[in-house]
Amino acid sequence: MLDKRNWWSGIFFLSLGLFLVITSMRLSVWSEIGPNEGFFPLMIGVIIIGLSVNLIRPFLSAQALRRRKIESETEEQSATPRKEVNVFRVVSYALLMLLYAVSMEKAGFLFASAIFLLLILKGVERQSWKITVLVGLVTLITSYLLFFDFLRVSLPRGFIPWF
């Protein structure tokens, strides 16, 4: 059975390969003494193009086109139940992690972490206030003692005045 994911990922890698080849050609590939900075990415780009064509090729043959038509007809008839996905949760995690990363330097590690934990535990994971506050506090206190005190990792302090 032809997997549609291979088609889309093949297109992605073909584009990546072409990007590598075009960008490498703008660098210097070879000099009098030997390969330059463009040589290796160019080789890799060519390899990626070859491999992605190999991935896409089964979709392009006439036999494959006939097979796909049969498969899509069979799929409609069998109607396999789709796996349950929680789109809200994954999108929320992605956005909140990004927000956490970009705000950390200005807001400080502890403050940004506190907001992140609050929003994830209460807003996304729908935990009770008791669990949210307990887990949040334990995590923050442990992080402070471990990273700031014990390991002396340099983390942004932000605008909290008593640091």
Binding site: F13, L16, L55, V90, F116, T139, S143, L155
Partner: protein
């Protein structure tokens, strides 16, 4: 030899040195658990401490940090799918699957015992074979390194369990990512898109944490079924049931033995030999197994071999440092700095002129391995409780640890953002059925591969025959080509058996 070992033990078994070894191992384990922090950064911070200690004691403590970190990295690889060290990436493949089956204790247990056995034999190998093996490292020039890295790349075949094309695509993608940054020879920036943060390239820890740690968090955030299965995991409560049983030992003894030998010899080679050793051990075990389909599904051999290899490689890595004064990785370079701060330059004379230092450090490794075993095995009962924490509570903590790990590398939140980008890539890789292990291997060796290939072609004035004119290089390249050819042939034969004929498609209509 026996006299030297006894001399070494009298030095390393003093209360002062045992305490420092214990401190180093404990600190190393904690550091190894926290991804991104790494033994190199910790050793660098503690280097000034060596002024207050005598050199032997200082090296004993700093070495303890190094091999303690190897085991610490294993803990997070197995329990949380976050590789603490680059060399523990391979442990994730089967170790994390074992954790999902409630066998985290067995994975951690076999890793601890395997590391102890490998470390012990590695130490013996170091003491017996240091001088002749140091000559072995000198035989490797650019052509040999290129061939070794190319051979290493063929291991991607064994790291992926599904499509060969996809495994190679991941490998090629990893090599492409390794080219990001400033070219060391010509100082031209490649694929940095004007970002100063990318000029030094992508950090291995950032890539690993993103692909594995953040990618897993996003995947488990999306999949209701996977999240439910994860939350249903329960581990045995008694230590005896937690640890490897007779069958596990029967399966693991040969992988431990093979991993020990492989890791020891690869660890001698400067530039990534220790990291390749864990990948190579995994590939070897999968190749030799009668049931290779179990790999990737929680095969204990997939943990035993690589963990032994990476621990044995630590012993091997000391050889070029102590005998030739050549550090084989960043940690060894820092240890060399510690030597030089005390006016001692490591090299071939160190065995004779500073025998107490040489044998003291070697015997302390054995003590360190015993300490790690005593320290970590009883703690397995506590470690495995982490897997039973509901993922809704655990995942934000994992994010926090990864964020700290990424930020602490360069005190730059851009590294955190890059890690999240790779997290997204890791999530989509999972959705599109691509495995990250081949990408990691290729990324790790990509830099060395490019350097060696370019140096070789400069030496040979552009002729690729240089790789075939050197015997070691030729053997490795021919071996790599044979491996690729044999797996292509297997795939071709399998496809011919599976592919329907034109007639059967028409019948299906």
């Amino acid at each position: 030899m026996l006299e030297n070992l006894l001399l070494g033990f009298t030095i390393s078994m003093s209360l002062h040195n045992v305490a420092l070894c214990f401190l180093g191992c404990t600190l190393g384990t904690v550091i190894g658990v926290l991804p991104g922090l790494g033994p190199a950064a910790t050793i660098a911070m503690l280097l000034t401490l060596t002024y207050k200690l005598d050199l032997t004691s200082a090296i004993i403590m700093l070495s303890g940090i190094y091999y303690g970190a190897q085991y610490g990295g294993t803990i997070t690889s197995v329990l949380l799918k976050i590789p603490g060290e680059a060399s523990t990436v391979v442990t994730i493949i089967d170790g994390y699957q074992m954790a999902l089956q409630g066998k985290a204790g067995k994975a951690l247990g076999i890793a601890a015992f395997g590391s102890f056995i490998a470390g012990t034999f590695g130490t013996i190998g170091l003491s017996l074979l240091a001088p002749p093996l140091s000559e072995f490292a000198l035989l490797f020039g650019p052509a040999e390194y290129s061939a070794l890295m190319i051979f290493g790349l063929t291991l991607v075949i064994y790291l992926g369990s599904r499509s060969l094309t996809k495994a190679w695509l991941m490998g090629a993608f990893g090599l492409a990512l390794a080219t990001v940054g400033m070219d060391p020879a010509t100082t031209v920036e490649r694929f940095t898109f004007g970002s100063q943060s990318l000029v030094e390239g992508i950090n291995t820890a950032v890539l690993a944490m993103g692909l594995f740690g953040i990618g897993e968090i996003l995947y488990l955030a999306e999949s209701v079924e996977a999240r439910s299965k994860r939350d249903a995991i329960r581990c045995p409560t008694r230590l005896r049931e937690l640890l490897p049983d007779r069958q596990d030992w029967r399966r693991s003894l040969l992988p431990i033995s093979r991993g020990t030998i492989l890791g020891f010899f690869l660890g001698i080679l400067p530039g990534g030999g220790a990291i390749i050793s864990s990948f190579a051990s995994y590939a070897m075990e999968k190749r030799l197994s009668r049931t290779p389909h179990r790999f990737g599904q929680g095969a204990i051999e997939g943990v035993a071999g690589p963990e032994s290899a990476n621990n044995s490689a630590v012993s091997g890595a000391f050889i070029p440092l102590l005998t030739l004064g050549i550090p084989s990785n960043v940690v060894m370079a820092l240890l060399m700095g510690a030597f030089m701060l005390h006016g001692v330059t490591p090299g071939s004379f160190i065995m004779k002129e500073h025998s107490h230092l040489f044998w003291g450090v070697i015997t302390s490794m054995y003590i360190g391995n015993v300490i790690l075993l005593i320290l970590n095995v009883p703690l397995i009962k506590i470690f495995v409780k982490i897997i039973e924490i509901p993922y809704a509570l655990l995942s934000p903590m994992i994010v926090l640890i990864c964020v700290v790990g990424a930020y602490s590398l360069n005190n730059n939140s851009v590294d955190v953002v890059i890690m999240l980008v790779f997290g997204g890539i890791g999530y989509f890789m999972r959705k599109f059925d691509y495995e990250p292990a081949p990408l990691m291997l290729a990324f790790v060796i990509g830099d060395q591969l490019e350097k060696s290939v370019r140096q070789s072609l400069v030496i040979s004035q552009g002729s690729p025959m240089i790789f075939f004119n050197h015997p070691i290089s030729m053997v490795l390249i021919v071996g790599a080509l044979l491996m690729v050819a044999s797996s292509l042939l297997k795939t071709f034969i399998k496809k011919r058996k599976v592919l329907p004929t034109a007639g059967s498609i028409d019948e299906a209509k």
